[in-house]
Structure formats: structure tokens, C-alpha cells
């Protein structure tokens, strides 16, 4: 009998040990002590089809460290915070990363995935709500975006009626475009005019009657180049490759891997996509139910076709990026890119059109 009881105790202890290990592992999720460090939020990244971020809204306080434990439950993702200098953290399946964030301004910050994890990758977004006293709020912009102030319909067709017959040269344009009136060279003119629109305006100037059509295109190219820098274009190129090329294609032809087999976007056709309307500006507003299934209604336009981009003003392009939609499944980038990044990206997009 003694041997029997020793065996029972031995068995009991072994099973308790197994249970204890399990409790230590699961405990932290239930608020109990465990072997993992205490964190404010344990955040699991999953493909949107698998549930997306495990926590969609995180609360934080200004100046107080926010400790996150991050992992991926399926494929490779990454964790990045929009409009911040925080480098993205790659999340490999099953591997853990600790991150501590400190916010110096209150506001709503968008965290998102920067890895192309699937066809609905862009929907991997969540919000960090930072509260507390500080002089200025972060994200909420003081004024409306330019496209709204101008009353632009960014869903409307903007096909350029005039396009250059040969690739314009900013260098050639620089030889004489500096002599154009200051109003034509201003930033406001750049933001509110499409290249084709400005070309038409230049063409209408009687003082430029002696200039050929190609000269005027060179001038427009020059004026566009004046609004950016090589460094900004280089940064924009990386941003484009990381965030845009999946759909728009590395070369801007609208042939990215995520849109293979989809029909080409028809400008102005106003594809039915109610969930991608203005409401999509709010990062947390896009619900799973309203956006599943029919996300990629059409492939984006070919940026290398001058008719597509040269008819759009920077304000229009900014609006498209800020709001997204257009029936193509274009994500909203307002909470992700800083104004400077957005500006650089817009300038970079035009380089696709200038090449032809």
C-alpha cells in the first residue's frame, strides 16, 4: 500500500507541475502573475481575415510609457505608428517583441501593418488614444484638407486632354521658366493646378505665344520639380515601395500583385463602395462587415499613362490619398503619412507620368 500511495503522490505532483506550467503561461492573460514581463497591452497581429489586430484601440497617457508585447499569430506583419518617426517593428509568427512608447502629445494615433500580409492588408489598423495635458493635440489637423476647401470632387474623372508628345525636361524648362510671373510659379498654383491645367493656362498667355507646346511642357515639368527635392523623392520612393507598390505596381502601371486579374479602374465611374467613402477617414471606422469581400473592385489607373496623372492636381491626389476609396479599394493614408511625406509622395507620383 505504501508503494501505491507513493506512486499516487508522484503522479499527482507531476500533473500539478504540468498544470502549474500551464497556469504560469496563461496567467498573465488573466491578470495573474507569470513568467513574462508585465505589460500594458499584449497585441497580436493577424491577417484581417483572421481578425486583424487583437486590440483595436489602446489607451495611453501623455508622458507615461506604454509597454507593448507584440507578436504575429499567422504570417509576417509589422507594427508601425502613423505620422511618427517610430521605425516599424517586424513581427514574425510566434515571436515576441517588447516595445515601449512614450507620447508627448495627446491625440489619436494610428498603428498599422507595413507588410503585405494579404489582400486586405491595409485594413490592419488600430488606434492609440493618448490623453493628458499638453499644449497641442497631435493628429487632428487644424484645418480641412485642401481638396475639401477647394470643393474638389476627387471621384470625378480628371483625364488630361493635353499631354506632351515627348517626355518633358525640367532642365530645359529651367532655362526660361524662371522668368514666368511669380503667381504662376507659386506653391498655390502648383497645388491647385493639374500639369495639363497649368499648361493650358500657359498656352493661353499671349506673352508665351512664341513658345512651342514642348517648351511649355518643359516649363511645367520645371515648376513641378521646383516643389520637391531629390532627398524628398528618395524618401517617397521608399514609401511608395513599402505602401503603394502592392497595388500600383513598382513602376506605377497599376499592376501590383494585389490587383492581379482585376478590371482596370475607369475614372469617374463611381464604383459602389459605400464603406470607403468619407467615413473611411476615421481609421477605426471601417468595420469588418462593410468592407469584406469586395475590397478590390478594380485595379488602379496606370500612372505611366500621362492622361491619368497630368490631369490631376496635387490637391486632388492629396485628397485621394487622405480619403482613399474611389471604388478601387484604395486605403486612406491620412492618419499614416505626415504632410511632408504626403507632399513628397505626390511629387514622386508625377515622375511616373513625366517619363513618357
Amino acid at each position: 500500500m505504501k508503494r501505491e500511495w507513493i506512486a499516487r503522490i508522484f503522479l499527482f505532483l507531476l500533473l500539478v507541475a504540468a498544470g502549474f506550467i500551464g497556469a504560469l503561461a496563461v496567467g498573465p492573460r488573466l491578470g495573474l502573475p507569470g513568467l513574462t514581463p508585465a505589460v500594458d497591452v499584449e497585441l497580436h497581429a493577424r491577417m484581417p481575415e483572421n481578425g486583424g489586430w487583437s486590440v483595436s484601440e489602446i489607451q495611453a497617457r501623455v508622458g507615461q510609457p506604454l509597454h507593448l508585447r507584440l507578436t504575429s499569430d499567422d504570417v509576417m506583419h509589422s507594427f508601425a505608428i502613423g505620422q511618427s518617426d517610430q521605425a516599424p517593428i517586424d513581427l514574425l509568427p510566434g515571436e515576441w517583441h517588447d516595445a515601449t512608447l512614450v507620447f508627448d502629445k495627446p491625440g489619436r494615433y494610428t498603428f498599422y501593418c507595413t507588410r503585405w500580409c494579404g489582400s486586405n492588408h491595409w485594413r490592419m489598423r488600430g488606434t492609440i488614444v493618448v490623453t493628458g495635458s499638453a499644449s497641442a493635440a497631435a493628429n487632428p489637423t487644424a484645418e480641412k484638407p485642401l481638396y475639401l476647401r477647394l470643393g474638389l470632387d476627387i471621384d470625378a474623372a480628371h483625364t488630361a486632354q493635353q499631354t506632351p508628345r515627348q517626355a518633358p525636361s525640367a532642365e530645359r524648362g529651367a532655362q526660361w521658366a524662371e522668368r514666368l510671373p511669380a503667381s504662376l510659379r507659386s506653391r498655390d498654383t502648383y497645388l491647385t493646378h493639374s500639369p495639363a491645367g497649368l499648361w493650358l493656362r500657359l498656352r493661353a498667355e499671349s506673352s508665351l505665344n512664341d513658345r512651342s507646346d514642348a517648351d511649355l511642357w518643359d516649363a511645367v515639368a520645371y515648376l513641378w520639380a521646383q516643389q520637391t527635392t531629390p532627398a524628398a523623392l528618395a524618401e517617397a520612393k521608399d514609401l511608395y515601395a513599402a505602401n503603394c507598390a502592392a497595388c500600383h505596381g513598382e513602376t506605377g502601371q497599376g499592376d501590383g500583385v494585389m490587383v492581379e486579374g482585376l478590371p482596370r479602374y475607369e475614372p469617374g465611374s463611381r464604383h459602389a463602395s459605400p464603406s470607403l467613402g468619407n467615413g473611411a477617414m476615421d481609421g477605426a471606422a471601417a468595420s469588418d462587415e462593410s468592407t469584406t469581400g469586395d475590397m478590390r473592385l478594380s485595379a488602379p489607373p496606370d500612372f505611366t499613362d500621362p492622361r491619368n496623372l497630368l490631369g490631376a492636381s496635387p490637391a486632388q491626389l492629396e485628397g485621394k490619398m487622405l480619403r482613399g476609396g474611389m471604388g478601387t479599394g484604395m486605403p486612406y493614408w491620412g492618419p499614416i503619412f505626415t504632410p511632408t511625406q504626403m507632399d513628397a509622395l505626390i511629387a514622386y507620383l508625377y515622375t511616373f507620368a513625366w517619363k513618357k
Partner: protein, 469 residues
């Protein structure tokens, strides 16, 4: 004096001998009679200790599966069950120990301990449970022997892609198996789950005759004169060891060795596959069916998991969808019809059938070394490639970011890119030759032997093709 009330052991009926006298017995080395090793066999403590550890490990596996990381490569349940344990089972336990895994398997133990009201037999004079005999049939469906095991293993293939990668599903499957074994032990006598339902027990027993170990009586005459049959009374498997002709039914628990009043049972070391030479027993229909299903499954799994057809894996993973239904139909047709059908054709080409099922059974033993070798080759394909996952999940069994003993960051990934294919080729060649030899021995005519060898060659070449793909 106690009367012998055992009229007939509950062991499944065995086919009568089909051919000539039993061949000469080769030399054995009785390990259980070695003074240093003998306590390992005569004491119940070592086996209990092993079972207690595997039961605790099983509990940990279920917990990890249910509550650990959903990423299979970081979950103890997936890595230990489908990589470590499976590899050990196929490369060590079965080839070297026959049903040795069954001896330490924790699954039947809770029910058995409850049934005998104690960990060790004899702890209580009372038994718990109804103790009913396992029915031979359920309506017209045969459920005794390996029929359900064969069907079960075939069905496993329908969900294998998901089960092998989903910790949650693995956890629930293991928990379900434990509960099923426990429940059945309350209703039926002996190890009903192990004998009739467990797919692992099914193929383990099927290939156990190939092992170089055995548990046998030394002198059958002593057993014949012993009227109490204490060995059968104590055998949890329902095996009467004196009548045992091969390893297929014995779970190696050594209980008969311990209780034999005449010390007439030995655990022997012998040559590989001596049962194929010395035993005259041919396979039963359920065993033949299981052997064919196992062959069909290993080819199917190799195509599915090792082949370059990603679309097939995607379909197998999408359980419940139309592509999965198509995959299932093709899989069942291939593993359940084509591979067995080819065997039937080979047997028929070898000569006239003397009763369809009986003839298939009579020449089915070459399927065993062939099947074992094919499964070993299949296992080698992923065992070494995935071995690097084993140590990290010991350091972090739940995949929550632990690093116990510094193991979670250990990267042990030996380069086996050259060794593994060579090992697979060697194993397949051994299996082919071994199968051919058994075919030559069992066949009634040279033509039949040639047909069986042709079948073995076809299966082997098929496996080689998949592995090379």
C-alpha cells in the same frame, strides 16, 4: 483450487496456418533474464514512472495546444506531437521496439487505474466499470480488430493538413482521445480503445512483427499444463501470451512476465522481423485492410506534404470548401481504392484466387516491411528538417516568449540535405528487398511472388518519385 474459467482469450480470431511447418527458431537473447536488467522488467515501478511522465507530458501538451500560441512552430503541442513524438515513433519505437510506445502510452492509463482502483494491479480487490466484451459488429459493420483503426486512419487524412498545423485542434483531438479512452474503459473490458480504435495502436501493432524484440513464453508445455492462466487474467490487452505467434497484439507491458508463477516469460532480443520467418500466421482481413490503408496514406501524405503541389495543400487545408471536397474524393479514391486495388490486381496476376479476401490476406505480409520502410522514409523527410524546432519549444512550450534554460534561443539545425536522401534511399531499398523476401517466402508460386514483388517495386518507385519531386 481455482478453476480455469477462461474458455477463450479475447484476442481477435486468427487465421489458421496456410502453409508448411514452422521454420526453425533463431537465437534469442533474453534481456529480462540479465541480472542487471531484470528489475526493469519484474518491477512495476519503472513502467509506471514512464507512464506518469508521459501522462504529465500529455497533459502539458493538451494545455499548450488549447491555451498556447496559435503558431504551430512555437507550440509544444504541434512540435512534440507531430514532429518529435511522431519521429521517435516511426524511427525508434516501432522499428526497434515494436509496440514499445504502447507500453508507455498514457492514453489508456487513467481509465485503467480507475478500473483497477489503483495504480498497481491488486491495489483493490474491486473493479470499476461494466467490463463488457467489445462487440464484433455494429449492425452489419465490423468493428472488432483493426477495421475501425483502418477507417479512422483513412479519415484522419481528410483533416491532416489542418490538424498537423493547428495547436487548438491538436489539443482538442488529444483531449477527445483521452476522454474516449477513459469512457470506453468504463464500459468495456481490457483495452478496448487501444485494441479496436486507436489508429496509432493499429499500425504500431501491424508493423511490430518487424521489430528485433519480443515477449514470449519459453516453454509452451509449461503454459499448457498451467491451468490458472494468470498471464491472461492480468494482461490489460486481453492477450494470451502462450498463444502469441507474433508481436502484433502484445503491448509489452510485461505484466505476464511479472505474474507468471513459473517464470516462463522472457523479453527477448532477436533478429529483425523474425515473425515474418517463424510465424505461420497470416493477416486477417482487417489487418490487410489496415496495411493497405497505411500504404495508401503514406503515399498520399507524401504527395500532399512533400510534393511541390501547393494548390493541393491549400485545398486540403480549406476544410469544408469545394476544393477540399475534391481533394477528399481524390485522396479517398487513391488511398482507399487505387492502392488496395493495385494490390488486388497484383495478387490476381500472380495466379488464381482461392477466395478473394482469403487470397488477399494470405499474401499480404509483404505489405508490412514495405509499409514500414515507406513510413520511415516519409518521416525522415521532415524529421531532420524540423528538428530545430524541438529545443526552442521546450524552452517556451506555450509560445508566450519564455526562454527556460536558454533553450528558446538554441538553434540546432544540422545540415542533412545530403544524409537524409541517402537514408531515405537506403530505407526504401531495404523495405523493397525485405518485402520481396517475404513475398518469395509466402507466395505459393514464383509467379505470385513476382507479382507481389512488382507491387512492392511500384509502391517504392512511386515513393521515390514523390520524394524526388
Amino acid at each position: 483450487m481455482k478453476l480455469n474459467t477462461v474458455s477463450q482469450p479475447a484476442q481477435p480470431r486468427q487465421e489458421p496456418a496456410e502453409r508448411g511447418p514452422r521454420q526453425s527458431i533463431s537465437r534469442r537473447l533474453s534481456l529480462s533474464r540479465q541480472p542487471l536488467l531484470r528489475p526493469l522488467f519484474t518491477s512495476r515501478v519503472p513502467l509506471f514512472s514512464a507512464r506518469a511522465i508521459t501522462l504529465a507530458g500529455f497533459a502539458l501538451t493538451i494545455l499548450a495546444g488549447l491555451f498556447g500560441s496559435v503558431v504551430g512552430s512555437h507550440n509544444f503541442a504541434i512540435i512534440f506531437v507531430w514532429i518529435a513524438w511522431w519521429t521517435l515513433l516511426k524511427l525508434v519505437f516501432i522499428p526497434l521496439g515494436g509496440r514499445s510506445w504502447c507500453a508507455v502510452c498514457p492514453i489508456p492509463m487513467p481509465g485503467e487505474w480507475l478500473g483497477q482502483r489503483g495504480i498497481f494491479p491488486g491495489a483493490s480487490p474491486c473493479k470499476f466499470g461494466l467490463g463488457l466484451a467489445w462487440p464484433r459488429r455494429l449492425g452489419a459493420l465490423p468493428i472488432s480488430g483493426s477495421w475501425l483503426q483502418a477507417g479512422g486512419f483513412l479519415m484522419v487524412g481528410l483533416f491532416s493538413a489542418v490538424t498537423l498545423t493547428s495547436p487548438r485542434l491538436t489539443g482538442w483531438v488529444l483531449l477527445g482521445i483521452l476522454a474516449l479512452a477513459f469512457g470506453l474503459s468504463l464500459v468495456f473490458e481490457k483495452r478496448a480503445f487501444c485494441n479496436h480504435l486507436c489508429p496509432i495502436g493499429g499500425f504500431t501493432g501491424l508493423y511490430a512483427p518487424a521489430a528485433p524484440v519480443e515477449l514470449r513464453v519459453d516453454d509452451r508445455a509449461i503454459c499448457a499444463a498451467h491451468t490458472e492462466k494468470t498471464c491472461y487474467d492480468h494482461c490489460p490487452w486481453g492477450v494470451y501470451i502462450a498463444a502469441q505467434q507474433d508481436n502484433s497484439a502484445c503491448g509489452l507491458c510485461m505484466e505476464c512476465l511479472r505474474v507468471c508463477p513459473n517464470d516462463n516469460v522472457s523479453f527477448n532480443l532477436r533478429g529483425f522481423g523474425r515473425d515474418f520467418v517463424e510465424s505461420r500466421r497470416r493477416l486477417r482481413s482487417d489487418e490487410t485492410a489496415l496495411a493497405l490503408v497505411m500504404l495508401g496514406c503514406v503515399l498520399s501524405f507524401s504527395i500532399l506534404f512533400l510534393g511541390p503541389w501547393g494548390g493541393l495543400r491549400t485545398a486540403a487545408y480549406a476544410v469544408g470548401t469545394l476544393p477540399w471536397a475534391l481533394y477528399s474524393a481524390v485522396y479517398l479514391a487513391f488511398a482507399g481504392l487505387a492502392v488496395p486495388g493495385l494490390y488486388a490486381l497484383a495478387v490476381r496476376l500472380g495466379g488464381p484466387l482461392q477466395g478473394f479476401a482469403r487470397t488477399l490476406n494470405r499474401f499480404a505480409r509483404p505489405l508490412l516491411p514495405l509499409g514500414l520502410a515507406t513510413w520511415v522514409a516519409f518521416t525522415i523527410s521532415f524529421a531532420f528538417a524540423k528538428i530545430s524546432y524541438v529545443l526552442p519549444v521546450i524552452g517556451d512550450p506555450f509560445g508566450v516568449g519564455w526562454n527556460l534554460f536558454g533553450l528558446a534561443t538554441v538553434h540546432f539545425a544540422p545540415d542533412v540535405s545530403l544524409v537524409a536522401p541517402l537514408a531515405q534511399a537506403a530505407v526504401l531499398l531495404i523495405g523493397l528487398l525485405w518485402s520481396g523476401r517475404v513475398a518469395r517466402q509466402d507466395a505459393d508460386t514464383p509467379r505470385r511472388a513476382l507479382a507481389l514483388q512488382g507491387y512492392a517495386l511500384a509502391i517504392t518507385l512511386g515513393m521515390v518519385w514523390v520524394l524526388m519531386s
